[in-house]
């Protein structure tokens, strides 16, 4: 029971991280029809900046602000230098160019911070565990991450679903041409969403830094998961991103614990050792494939969500 609760919290926390990553990306995709493979780089750069700033200032808040600001600045810079010129091109050109950007950023951090990766410390005030109910202790830092991520997610959701600015953004996601015809400057809107998306990816990177290995290329696996989330949720759909982030986060985390157990009890150790790592890694891709077979536009397509 306590293990299940802990894993559920871990899953929620992965889901929150994925939501921070996918909300910005799905909107850029929906509004500008732009595929950005460099989104994982914002996550990575922010994690590096956070770890370094924390090391020199000792302030968790300052490191967070620095990380988010650096990701935002990087997002705007990338938009101005490269992305803006690619809006009218096809997906393929966008994939290739942003893949090139990813190569550049992965190598750049390797040159600046070294090849072996760096250590991001958990602030002393947030280290240790807290007993949630008798017999169940959970790391404080992870709870903080969950809380910050959830609050950000809720604020973001309210802004997008309840405010005028959010309405314009959603309109852009549903029907770009019509929104432009209504007098919205779709380029400025998109640059804003791109920058905000980068900042959110930065927040995710900052929060994740002490829990994962801060190293070159760390943004790539999370980018792939983010793309899975976006496709499951429906491209351009923020509600879809919420739902899919939580599904992917929880299913992936629980699968990693319970699939080896189930298989271990059903087969001999030799068979289960061979089977379970493959099955656990496959799980979310299987789910995505099944969802796409039955719902080719994702769970909550943008036009209705």
């Amino acid at each position: 029971m306590t293990q299940f609760a802990a894993q559920l919290l871990n899953g929620l926390q992965l889901g929150v991280t994925l939501f921070l990553m996918s909300s910005g990306l799905t909107l850029v995709l929906g509004i500008m029809n732009f595929v950005n493979l460099a989104h994982g780089s914002f996550f990575m750069v922010a994690a590096y900046v956070a770890a370094t700033t924390y090391k020199y200032t000792g302030s968790f808040i300052v490191s967070g602000v620095a990380a988010v600001a650096s990701a935002f600045a990087l997002g705007i810079a990338v938009d101005v230098v490269c992305v803006r010129k690619l809006y009218d091109r096809d997906h393929l050109a966008q994939v290739l160019a942003t893949f090139g950007l990813t190569l550049f950023f992965n190598e750049a951090v390797r040159i600046i911070w070294g090849a072996s990766g760096i250590f991001a410390a958990v602030p002393p005030a947030l280290s240790g565990r807290i007993e949630i109910f008798p017999g169940f202790a959970y790391p404080v830092y992870r709870l903080v991450v969950l809380a910050v991520g959830m609050v950000t997610g809720i604020v973001l959701y309210v802004v997008i679903v309840r405010t005028r600015a959010g309405m314009i953004v959603r309109a852009g996601g549903s029907d770009r041409m019509m929104t432009a015809a209504m007098g919205v400057d779709i380029r400025t809107l998109s640059a804003g969403v791109f920058g905000a998306g980068a900042a959110l990816a930065g927040l995710a990177g900052f929060l994740a830094a002490p829990m994962v290995a801060v190293q070159s290329g760390m943004g790539d696996p999370i980018l792939i998961l983010t793309l899975v989330v976006i496709v499951i949720g429906g491209i351009g759909s923020v509600r879809g991103a919420v739902l899919a982030s939580l599904v992917v986060g929880i299913v992936d985390t629980l699968g990693r614990v319970y699939i080896p157990k189930t298989i271990g009890s059903a087969f001999t150790p030799a068979v289960s050792d061979a089977l379970s790592p493959a099955l656990t890694s496959m799980l979310i891709y299987l789910i995505m494939t099944i969802i796409l077979i039955f719902k080719p536009r994702g769970l909550l397509p943008a036009a209705t969500g």
């Binding site: 950023f105 995505m288 494939t289």
Partner: protein, 312 residues
Amino acid sequence: MSRNIAAVLVLIAFATVPLIAKVFDQPYYLTLFGRILIYGICALGVNLLLGSAGLVSFGHAMFLGIGAYAVGVTEYYGIESGFVQWPLGIAAAALAGLIVGAISVRLTGLYFIMITLAFGQLFYFVASGLAPFGGDDGMTIDTRSNFGHYLNLNNETLLYYFIFAILLLCLLFLHRLSHSRLGMIIAGIRSNESRMQALGFPTYRYKLIAFVLSAVICAISGLLLANLTDFVTAQYMTWQRSGEILVMAILGGMTSLFGPLIGTTALLLFEEVFSAYTEHWAIILGPVLVLIVLYLPQGLWGLLPDAKRPSR
């Protein structure tokens, strides 16, 4: 210099590689250019979907892997005959291509990219979980495909020309295909699928045919790769590999028959040359890719004038 002349010159250059390797006493050139030709075949296969049918597959490394494993697994069980391994690998890839394609080609755009990525990942995780065959660490192949006395692939020069001959066959096949009825229909689907449907073509079926054909070509490159490297690993099937193959095809120019081979050569030689000077070659490659996308939309091959449309 028109594209046709350039294409002939490039092929002649590839044909003389064994000679140059011999003269300069650099047997390594055979491996390097053999690898380039093999990935060139793979890029041609991917480009059959990409350039002809307009479908971006982010999972084609799985077919490369299926081909490579067809050699590795049969060899593991003591079957060394190429006449068994090759039909087996091609049949396995065709079957996998049929199943994956049947589900994938119903989707379009980013959804197609993602479902091929998902299938690629499924196959990758299966391969990396196959502990007897090495998984991610890989497995050495002791004996290359045995095609009898006259085609002994243990002779590096012969292996190189074998690869080269298969590349030429692929080029010939794709050239014929693009002028055939089937090729025209596939090209028609890329330009306007609804119109092709209105004309009465079952477009789904034709897209599926293109998918299976490209899977088979990629599997052939995998069969060759396993023979060249004497090694098979799940790492052949990662999504990064699928991405690299796409980059090769696009870099050279996916709208032409010859472009993917040029892109593959450029990318692999770039890696080879710059990695000799600096371990940070990727920091140059990244911006170069961006610049090519921004300023050379037709790819490297597009720099040369098309023979049919002479430049003024």
